[in-house]
Symmetry: C2
Subunit: 233 residues, 2 copies
């Protein structure tokens, strides 16, 4: 019998926004796995630190701080090989993933390498997108409205087109794309309907009207644009 | 001191996909509120039935089975008035909502009526969209890919345009729109990249290739179209 691979979403940041299932799996895990970036602390591990059993083995996939693909591919290949070794020995492995595993989640890279060979269970988690909407008090979509999630590195024209074709959007991965994104939103006349959210549900959480947002945004931030006005009925 | 209104996402259906925060709030609630449709059992209440304290008051907002807006508006108005009475007396009210409260959630209708007058806290939940992806084993989006959620009642041309402009989409509210949606997906050559999911994470869960999906879909179903091929790195 081989072990089972779990891809576990741990939610947006607050430790109590973990699901009961995720808490049970992490609390009973013999082997935990998570990625880190250039040796920095793992955000996903930090969320559930209080749940990890003492003595659990931790497989750390350390991703290099580089834009080329090959070094990250090599790191995931090596991590997948280490996980496969445990699974082959009949031990379950619990992989931690911020937010939800299949929505821009790091677990997808392990899933692609291991799903064909081992039993996999994905545990969905609370996404940072709906967490940001919750802390900002901004309903996203109702009835027959369209919602889209747009990475900010997309070209300006593509962002503009998708913004026009949706009732609400979340813009992710803002980083150094803030000026471009703000210009697109402003040109669409939607700055007043936009909110900037940083580190939703964490102590360091920031919620600001878009006009007051910083010029360079940290990784854990997003902009929500909600066109429809209240009331919804 | 007035009470606090909680809009609590209870996730897609499995009782252990409720968050720790939701479980704590429901377990300590003196007043619970949820909508029902024409007297049928509440799906949201069913998910967390095991957590509701004995003796908790339950405010049921019974929505009529009609397409006009006015009767539903009146039901939400009346429900909001009953909630406001408890809040005014200093009692917290916990409103249950399937999935996430701000993503097509029923709580939005109460939020619109009460948020200006009382303190509100929204507790995000696991969406049925990522839950469906999890049980189908279908990664949705990575890197700079675009994800969209499309209600199936939209016109055919609008669905086609948004399908073309996204890497992956979830089609919700299928009902009697299945034939139209399947024709659009087929015309885009994406039937082989599409999966039908019904009642994700429940015992009655169904996961099928789109070609084998039923002609009329129940309310708790969706189609996921994922264009990008594995591996993701």
């Amino acid at each position: 019998m081989t072990g089972r691979l779990y891809g576990v979403g741990v939610g947006p940041g607050a430790p109590d926004l973990v699901t009961l299932r995720a808490a049970r799996l992490i609390g009973g895990a013999a082997v935990i796995c998570y990625p880190t970036l250039a040796g920095a602390a793992s955000f996903a591990r930090g969320i559930v630190a209080g749940l990890i059993p003492e003595g659990a083995e931790e497989i750390v996939i350390d991703l290099p701080m580089r834009t080329e693909r090959a070094p990250a591919q090599a790191a995931y290949d090596e991590g997948a090989a280490r996980i496969a070794e445990r699974l082959g020995a009949g031990v379950d492995v619990v992989c931690l993933c911020e937010g939800d595993p299949f929505l821009y989640g790091s677990f997808m890279y392990l899933h692609a390498r291991l799903a064909g060979r081992f039993a996999v269970e994905v545990v969905p988690g609370v996404s940072s997108v709906t967490a940001a909407a919750a802390v900002a008090g901004r309903p996203l979509v109702a009835r027959n409205e369209v919602f889209a999630i747009l990475p900010a590195p997309l070209p300006e024209t593509e962002i503009a087109a998708r913004l026009a074709g949706s009732s609400s959007v979340a813009l992710m991965k803002l980083g150094r794309h803030m000026a471009k994104v703000r210009a697109v939103i402003d040109a669409a006349g939607l700055t007043d309907r936009s909110v900037y959210v940083e580190r939703a549900t964490l102590e360091a959480e920031v919620v600001l009207p878009l006009a007051e947002a910083p010029e360079v945004a940290p990784y854990f931030s997003m902009i929500l644009v909600t066109k429809e006005a209240d009331p919804w009925l």
